[in-house]
C-alpha cells in the first residue's frame, strides 16, 4: 500500500508559525517599553537629585525626620515670590537613617589632665521624599 507522502506545510503549521512570530515580536515590543520606563525613571532621578544639594551645609534639616515644604530647605535665601510660592506648595518629608557608627576611641588621651572625650563618626543617609520623587544624600556626622 502506498503511504501518504508529506512534502509541504499544512495551513495549521503555517498559522502556528505566524502565531509564534507574533508572540516573539510582542515580547520585543514589551522589552522596548520597559527600556522606555527605565529611561524615564532615570531622567526623573537626575532631575530630582539637585534637591539633595539643599541639605549640604544645612544643619536644621536632614538629621531628624520632619514634614516640611521644599521652601523650608531654601529658607536662608531671599527667593523671588514666584519661586517661593512654587516651593511652598510642594510638601516634602525629610527622613534620616543611621547607616554605621564608628567609634574612634578617646581623643585627648595623651594628656593626663585633659578631659577624656569619645569621638564617634556616624554615617547616615538623609532622604527627601515628595509625591513626585525621592532623593538621598550620604552624610557624615562627628559626635
Amino acid at each position: 500500500m502506498l503511504r501518504e507522502r508529506r512534502t509541504a506545510f499544512t495551513l495549521i503549521e503555517v498559522m502556528v508559525a505566524v502565531m509564534i512570530i507574533s508572540v516573539v515580536i510582542m515580547a520585543l515590543i514589551q522589552a522596548y517599553s520597559n527600556n522606555l520606563h527605565i529611561f524615564n525613571s532615570i531622567k526623573n532621578q537626575i532631575k530630582s537629585n539637585q534637591y539633595a544639594s539643599s541639605l549640604i551645609s544645612n544643619e536644621d534639616y536632614g538629621f531628624e525626620d520632619k514634614h516640611i515644604s521644599l521652601y523650608d530647605l531654601f529658607r536662608e535665601f531671599d527667593l523671588e515670590s514666584d519661586l517661593k510660592m512654587a516651593l511652598k506648595e510642594r510638601k516634602a518629608e525629610v527622613l534620616y537613617k543611621e547607616r554605621e557608627s564608628i567609634d574612634l576611641g578617646e581623643a585627648g588621651a595623651e594628656s593626663q589632665d585633659a578631659p577624656r572625650q569619645t569621638v564617634v563618626l556616624e554615617i547616615g543617609s538623609s532622604v527627601i521624599k515628595t509625591e513626585e520623587f525621592s532623593t538621598s544624600l550620604l552624610r557624615l556626622r562627628i559626635k
Binding site: 502506498l2 495551513l11 515590543i29 529611561f39 534637591y51 544639594s53 551645609s57 531654601f74
Partner: protein, 173 residues
C-alpha cells in the same frame, strides 16, 4: 489508494499570504512607531546629557569660586548678571574670571583671564563664550547667613528642565 499531497492548495496559499500581509502592515506600523520613538528618545537623552553638563559647570564654577569674588547684579525681575573668579575652567585657564550673562533670553557663560565686572563689555575684551540655552529666568541668590558663602542658582530653561542648585563655596574664609 489515498490521495497524494505534495504542496499547498491555492486556497491555503492565499490565506497564508493574506495573514502575512496583515502581519506585515502591523509590523511596518510598529517599526515606524519604534523609529519615531527611538528618535525622540535620542533627543531626550541628548537634552538630559546637556542639562547634566550645564549643572556640572555651574556647580564647579561656584564651588571653587575664590572667596568673596562673586558679584551678583540684578538687572530685571527674572534676570541676574553674575561675575566671579573661580578655580574651575572649561578652557584650560588658571583661575579665570567667569560671567553668566543673559542676552535676548539666551544665557551665556563668559570665561576670560581679564576681569569681567560689568554687563557692558569693553571693546577690547577677550573671552571664550559658551551658550547654555534659552531661558525664561536666571537668578542667583546669596545666602543670608553671613557665616558661610553659599548660593542658590535657579535657571528656568525654556526647553529643558529647570536647574535649582544650592552651592556652598569650598574656599570660603
Amino acid at each position: 489508494m489515498r490521495l497524494r499531497r505534495s504542496a499547498f492548495t491555492l486556497l491555503e496559499l492565499m490565506i497564508s499570504i493574506s495573514i502575512l500581509s496583515i502581519m506585515m502592515i502591523y509590523l511596518y506600523k510598529s517599526h515606524a512607531a519604534l523609529n519615531v520613538s527611538n528618535s525622540n528618545l535620542k533627543d531626550e537623552a541628548r537634552r538630559v546629557e546637556n542639562i547634566q553638563k550645564i549643572k556640572k559647570v555651574v556647580y564647579l564654577d561656584f564651588l571653587t569660586a575664590l572667596p568673596s569674588s562673586t558679584l551678583i547684579t540684578n538687572r530685571e525681575k527674572n534676570e541676574d548678571a553674575v561675575f566671579l573668579q573661580t578655580s574651575h575652567s572649561i578652557h584650560r585657564r588658571f583661575n579665570p574670571y567667569v560671567a553668566y550673562l543673559l542676552k535676548d533670553e539666551k544665557l551665556y557663560r563668559l570665561e576670560s583671564l581679564r576681569r569681567i565686572a560689568d554687563y557692558e563689555l569693553p571693546l577690547d575684551s577677550e573671552f571664550d563664550l559658551d551658550y547654555l540655552g534659552e531661558v525664561d529666568s536666571f537668578r542667583v541668590y546669596k545666602s543670608s547667613d553671613i557665616k558661610k558663602e553659599a548660593f542658590l542658582v535657579h535657571i528656568d530653561f525654556q526647553t529643558i528642565d529647570d536647574v535649582l542648585l544650592k552651592i556652598k563655596v569650598l574656599n570660603e574664609y
